[in-house]
């Protein structure tokens, strides 16, 4: 049987010496990548426990423990109350943002979608600013109970609230239109921006500084409370990933065709939106506004092992966590003993990388 007479050239992939297209089955590559990324995450985690503004190193601490010596109180605090919760939070937030990015890009079938597209960032940000500027209006008892949790709790529920509004707007007769959601998201974002602007205008000097820092994101406030609060939400969202993988793959064919191959499209949409609202909402709540992870990580991975969501989702979680930990290490070491907000580091590193990706590999991205 002869091949078709088409001599249409596929994209010559320079990394593969000019052959047309990808290796026939990318799944093996992708699985290998998962192992590599897991190892990388492990190495990065250990490194993040080793380095910091203080001289404490996890290795010397292990040495102490093995030798039966008690850790100094400073070492104990630095390792267990500062670095370890920060490590856990960094992994959770990094994984949450990256996976949310993958899910949103798959759901909207658009490589430019970011996790906030369902409105969760706009709502969370507005709620956080409201808490910062108007927090003193709350009854003192409530404020005391929430303590440092006031802004995170507000941000979390704000994220959910705005997602709910978008969902209701876009869903008619049990069917969600992602196109409507996209447009409504733009409108909601504008409204949230306007309301935030009013609050910023009302803010006094201290509050302005506080909300500026919040907007730039930071893992410095990592506490075990935050880790334990974020873990179930983000964990649950990440667990939905395998189910979503099949659905998002099918959605690439279009919603009708996805339905024909047996995918419950509306259920996939519901779970995707809820997972992203939960994961991104929790991430933003505990660490403020951290950008670029949600957009860049999916692209980097698609370029290397393709858009199949089965390996893409776990790989995104691993790579997102690793990158965020790396960014955090830079943030807290580069101007020690002071600290850079982590959103600055991810932007400074992420933006050029993103531009480079766009320039070099436009064809491979589907853009």
């Amino acid at each position: 049987m002869s091949l078709a007479a088409d001599t249409h050239q596929g994209s010559a992939d320079p990394a593969r010496g000019g052959s047309t297209g990808a290796p026939v089955d990318r799944r093996h590559q992708a699985r290998r990548l998962t192992l590599v990324l897991a190892a990388l995450l492990l190495v990065t985690s250990v490194t993040s426990l080793t380095f910091g503004a203080a001289g404490t190193s996890v290795w010397s601490a292990l040495g102490d423990l093995v030798a039966g010596r008690e850790l100094s109180q400073l070492d104990r605090i630095i390792l267990f109350d500062i670095r370890l919760p920060r490590l856990c939070l960094g992994i959770l937030v990094g994984a949450a943002l990256a996976v949310s990015g993958v899910v949103m890009q798959g759901l909207f079938r658009n490589p430019l979608a970011d996790p906030g597209i369902v409105g969760v960032s706009a709502g969370a940000g507005l709620a956080a600013i409201t808490a910062i500027v108007l927090g003193s209006l709350l009854p003192a008892a409530l404020r005391d109970t929430l303590g440092t949790g006031l802004v995170p709790v507000a941000a979390f529920f704000g994220g959910w609230g705005s997602t709910l509004i978008l969902y209701r707007t876009a869903t008619r007769g049990g069917q969600t239109s992602v196109a409507t959601m996209l447009l409504a998201g733009i409108a909601l974002g504008a409204l949230a921006g306007a309301l935030s602007g009013i609050l910023v205008y009302m803010a006094d000097d201290n509050q302005l500084r506080d909300l500026t820092f919040w907007g730039m994101g930071s893992l410095a406030g990592a506490t075990w409370t935050k880790v334990l609060a974020a873990l179930p939400v983000i964990g649950l969202a990440l667990c939905a990933a395998p189910f979503l993988a099949r659905g998002l793959n099918g959605l690439a064919l279009g919603e009708a065709a996805a339905g024909h191959i047996g995918i419950p499209v509306q259920r996939v949409k519901n779970i995707s939106i809820m997972a992203v609202a939960g994961a991104t909402g929790a991430a933003v709540a505990v660490s403020g506004g951290i950008g670029f992870i949600g957009i860049v990580v999916p692209h980097l991975l698609r370029l290397s092992t393709g858009p199949d969501h089965h390996p893409l989702l776990p790989n995104a979680a691993l790579l997102g966590a690793t990158l965020l930990l790396a960014a955090d290490m830079i943030a807290r070491v580069i101007i020690a003993p002071a600290e850079l907000p982590i959103g600055i580091v991810t932007a400074v590193l992420g933006a050029p990388v993103f531009l480079w990706i766009l320039l070099k590999r436009r064809a491979g991205l589907g853009l």
């Binding site: 605090i77 109350d81 500062i82 670095r83 006094d204 500084r209 506080d210 506490t223 101007i335 003993p337």
Partner: protein
């Protein structure tokens, strides 16, 4: 680690009692957070015991040689702990709360210094810091001197003001064309009054942005601003061109007084001197 959670629910406010924490043995590795706090430590002759300071501590110049733990409201726990402090003296408003919690857990002594914008406030600050440092005797001399100078400066200022005190508008910044002015209960308000002036803005508390019309309506005779470069350094030409200020007597007479931020608003040892300088500037001819 687990007791940490119960601490949080009990409320952070309980953790910090106003006042001081006397160190059992004199602390030798001190972190000072707050420009005036650092200044007072040096004024008490205890600057050699400092190991780090925050980003607002710009005076005296030796302070800038110390490691900088960052912005007072955004401290990082590991950063502060990395200089191995045994005492932290911080002006109220340092944060965030999570960092202060961890520092408390690390059993680093913490002394909170209240900010009150009056002559008594200055005295109280010096007393609090002196007690935290365990430098009660040295403080005597400094305190007596400052009490005397403060009284004299305020008396002179009142004299210069006479029956016609000037209306002063303090401008914190004009970023984005928006004038951020100092209202009641601010350091600016305090220093203006001590220097014999009237705060032209009395309709709100804190530093807030004001509408152009409201600014014009305050009709200040003098504009007071900080002289620090960046967006806080405001030149007369720039100010005079702002629509809100054009109709004001201050702009029309070119009366702008600029002064270094820390000495102006710090409410520390240089305050008596600041009061004198300001009141002269308000009442004895123009100063740019």
């Amino acid at each position: 680690m687990m007791g940490f959670i119960s601490n949080l629910t009990r409320g952070v406010s309980l953790a910090f009692l106003a006042g001081s924490l006397a160190a059992a043995a004199p602390a030798e590795r001190i972190v000072s957070v707050g420009g005036s706090v650092t200044e007072i430590v040096y004024a008490l002759g205890e600057g050699h015991r400092l190991v780090a300071r925050d980003s607002t501590s710009s005076y005296p110049p030796q302070a800038e040689a110390l490691p900088n733990v960052g912005y007072a409201r955004a401290l990082s726990p590991e950063g502060v702990l990395s200089v191995d402090p045994d005492l932290i003296i911080a002006s109220s408003g340092a944060g965030p709360l999570e960092t202060l919690e961890v520092l408390k857990q690390a059993n680093v002594a913490y002394s909170e210094v209240p900010e009150v914008y009056s002559a008594d406030g200055v005295i109280q600050k010096i007393e609090t810091i002196a007690e935290a440092l365990g430098a009660g005797d040295k403080a005597r001399a400094l305190l007596d001197g400052i009490k005397h100078d403060l009284k004299a400066a305020q008396k002179d200022a009142a004299q210069r003001a006479g029956d016609t005190p000037v209306r002063v508008l303090f401008i914190l910044s004009t970023q984005g064309g928006r004038i951020m002015a100092g209202g009641r209960d601010t350091a600016a308000d305090g220093i203006i009054r001590m220097a014999g002036g009237i705060n032209a803005v009395d309709s709100f508390d804190g530093y807030k942005p004001m509408t152009d019309e409201a600014v014009s309506a305050t009709a200040p005779d003098v504009i007071l601003a900080m002289d620090r470069g960046g967006d806080h350094g405001v030149a007369m030409e720039q100010l005079a061109s702002l629509p809100a200020l054009i109709p004001t007597p201050a702009a029309q007479n070119g009366r702008l007084v600029r002064m270094d931020g820390l000495s102006l608003l710090g409410f520390g040892p240089r305050t008596p001197e600041t009061i004198q300088t300001l009141s002269r500037a308000f009442y004895e001819g123009h100063s740019k």
